[in-house]
């Protein structure tokens, strides 16, 4: 009986129900924050326990915690908490600006909690079937959040999000079925045959032909949710049209979680095939995503689309790192997941308040933030510098590791990556700099924001990212190493 897992999963689930029933109360937002905080606390406890006692199997092996997923659990819970802190004033302001009704807020809050629940379930479950179910559920919970504003654009985005991810994830189901079929012969039919721990135990005996096909389906399926080119088309729309907190968690968390699922499958495929086939596929998709996304960047006019494409780029980088495999590369990939989700969510916080302050998402109309509201301006420019991989921020640390191991393992990829990084740098900086600096444009709605924006999360995230760039606590490093070892 393991109360931490129970709490980690139970709190958001119950919270979602509670917020749905509670209706539109003034304190809904505070409750949301409180629940997220409780979840984070529980996740902390779980982490502590795993660090203390090593991997955990619970509830007749249905749940499984090892260093790999526990660090993602902690990260998810943390970012979910900061995002809820940010969304409290943000959504109030949206309400005051008349873009949202109280009923929508109610939907938002309960769905937010359910979304967190589904992600945590994906991370914690030991059952590849449940993992699929939860990931699909994650789509379903967010699709209504994307269309929260009910504008034509948001509806279109949500529709594309739903159809593309739905179809994609259906392929993943086929892959799961094949996986089950392969494992059945070894583990007998029944629930055990889908438990990752068991699969991992026998992965070297799994049928290679089946596994290779299965992995293709899983890659296309989960890859769609990761946003790998050319399966990425839903991503920019969904990020740009949804409410900013949703963009933050989509980009900061959901992509990570989907990638986590993909990595778990890769481990099995590698075991069965004994060839670098799976890794090569992932590297190919990774490179494609990095390069294509980098070239997309310079055409953007909408600030949230801009950073959505940047997310594709970074996810591609991580996928490439995991594809390369090897202790250093996997370590770098995990580190990059962490710093990217922290930095990108913080950027979206800043962007959200910037758009509220200026009343537009069109970058040409956003000017001189640093004069309109210095904290927002600095938040945006520092985040941009960080996400572009400029030291001393942690993003550079992981990119340094990825690039250096690429130089050793996949020299052909290095120039491509560097080219893409250079192009992305030029594009993003040329967009963000004029928004932050210079004179404010007259179009801005006069006066201050009706609620004090919550910028603490922004700088908290940056502080963590900065620290990771300069100093990584030994236990954290060991933890990453452990996780990297699991990925292989």
């Amino acid at each position: 009986m393991n109360w931490e897992i129970l709490a980690v999963l139970g709190i958001p689930l119950a919270g979602g129900a509670a917020l749905a029933l509670a209706g539109d109360r003034r304190w809904a937002a505070e409750l949301n924050v409180a629940l997220s905080f409780a979840t984070f606390a529980a996740a902390g406890a779980l982490t502590a326990r795993v660090v203390r006692t090593g991997p955990i199997l619970a509830f007749e092996e249905q749940f499984f915690v090892d260093p790999l997923n526990v660090f993602l659990v902690a990260l998810t819970a943390f970012v979910a908490m900061t995002t809820s802190i940010f969304s409290r004033p943000y959504m109030r302001i949206e309400e005051d600006h008349g873009r949202l009704s109280a009923a929508r807020l109610r939907l938002y809050h309960s769905m937010y909690q359910l979304f967190v629940f589904t992600m945590l379930l994906v991370l914690l479950t030991n059952n590849m079937g449940i993992l699929w179910v939860a990931l699909e559920a994650a789509t379903l919970t967010t699709v209504l959040l994307v269309s929260l504003y009910r504008t034509p654009a948001s509806l279109e985005a949500a529709w594309k999000y739903f159809i593309l991810c739905g179809v994609g994830i259906a392929q993943a189901l086929f892959g799961t079925i094949l996986l089950y079929m392969a494992s059945q012969k070894l583990l007998g039919s029944g629930i055990d045959a889908l438990l990752w721990t068991h699969l991992a135990g026998v992965r070297s005996q799994l049928e290679p032909t089946v596994l290779s096909i299965a992995f293709v389906f899983l890659l296309v399926g989960y890859g769609t949710k990761v946003g790998l080119v050319p399966l990425h088309n839903w991503l920019p729309d969904a990020h740009a049209e949804g409410p900013t907190p949703v963009s933050a968690v989509l980009s900061g968390l959901l992509l990570n979680v989907a990638l986590y699922a993909l990595v778990r499958c890769k481990v099995l495929a590698d075991g069965a095939l004994g060839t670098p086939f799976a890794g090569e596929l992932m590297m190919g998709f990774g490179i494609a995503s990095v390069v294509v996304a980098a070239f997309f960047l310079s055409r953007q006019r909408d600030i949230k689309r801009l950073f959505a494409y940047s997310s594709i780029e970074h996810m591609g980088l991580v996928t490439f790192a995991f594809g390369m495999a090897g202790p250093v590369a996997s370590f770098a990939g995990l580190l990059h997941m962490t710093v990217h989700s922290l930095t990108k969510s913080a950027i979206f916080f800043a962007v959200g308040h910037a758009t509220q302050k200026t009343g537009t998402q069109v970058m040409e109309d956003i000017r001189g933030l640093i004069r309109a509201r210095p904290t927002i301006g600095w938040g945006l420019i520092i985040g941009t510098v960080a996400i572009l991989g400029v030291p001393p921020f942690g993003v550079f640390a992981s990119e340094f590791l990825i690039l250096t191991s690429a130089m050793r393992q996949e020299p052909w990829a290095t120039p491509l990556l560097l080219l893409a990084l250079g192009v992305a740098f030029a594009a993003v900086l040329s967009k963000v700099q004029p928004m932050v600096f210079g004179d404010t444009s007259e179009k801005f709605p006069p006066g201050r924001l009706p609620h004090q924006p919550a910028l603490l999360p922004v700088f908290a995230h940056y502080a963590i990212v900065l620290t990771l760039g300069l100093y990584m606590p030994p236990y954290l490093a060991d933890w990453y190493r452990e996780a990297a070892r699991l990925i292989g």
């Binding site: 059952n127 509806l155 279109e156 079925i177």
Partner: protein, 224 residues
């Protein structure tokens, strides 16, 4: 009774079911009228349900009865009913427009079927089930549904294609593995149900925004 059911015979009967399923998929691919499309979807579900039940009976996999029942309730009764109501509520009476003309689609579908068989051949060798021969057909059904989604230009047919794909997957599960474990089956069913409900919500929202369910209205978000 079961005695005179040699595995071979069982296999043949299941193959018959599979063939019918594939036939229905092709029919859906070719179908122009939306209401009959829904009926075909229901029919597909029914065939699926029958085959599942038969496999359960023939192989004694009792949990397959449950999934058969689930299929019946969900895909034969509930979803078609919901879709019918939607059609009536949104009174969309129009015929299905396709982006590619039907014969071409059929040809492509044919190629897909061959590809699917070809692909499933080595895999089904390895499956331990009497039903393994149908894996290729299941895959074909999935791919055909995919193709249908691509070619249809209206929201509802696309969704039906989506659900048809779900059917194909379900059939694949039965064929390759006598069905997934119960928990997973339930979870999948739940997802499908919720998905359809959300879709319903969507239809109304899209309808009220664009006063049409033609998804070609949904092409504003793009890069110039």
């Amino acid at each position: 009774m079961t005695a005179l059911l040699t595995p071979a015979l069982v296999g043949q009967i299941i193959n018959v079911f599979a063939a019918v399923l594939l036939l229905v998929s092709f029919a859906m691919l070719a179908q122009r009228r939306i209401l009959s499309l829904i009926d075909l979807f229901a029919a597909q579900g029914f065939v699926l349900c029958l085959s599942t039940a038969f496999v359960a009976w023939a192989t004694g996999q009792t949990h397959l009865y449950w999934s058969a029942g689930l299929t019946f309730v969900l895909k034969v009764l509930l979803l078609p009913w919901i879709l019918h109501r939607l059609i009536r509520r949104l009174n969309v009476k129009w015929d299905v427009e396709t982006l590619i003309n039907i014969p071409t689609t059929m040809l492509v579908g044919l190629v897909l079927v061959i590809f699917a068989f070809n692909l499933a051949q080595p895999v089904s060798e390895l499956a331990g089930t009497v039903t393994r021969g149908t894996l290729g057909i299941a895959l074909a059904a999935v791919l055909l549904a995919f193709l249908m989604m691509i070619t249809r230009s209206k929201a509802v047919p696309q969704v039906i294609g989506f659900l048809a794909m779900e059917n194909g997957l379900f059939f694949a599960a039965t064929a390759a593995t006598y069905g997934m474990p119960m928990v997973v089956e339930l979870g999948i069913a739940l997802d499908v149900l919720v998905g359809v409900i959300i879709l319903g919500v969507f239809f109304f929202q899209i309808r009220e925004r664009f006063d049409s369910l033609d998804i070609r209205h949904l092409e504003k978000l793009k890069e110039e």
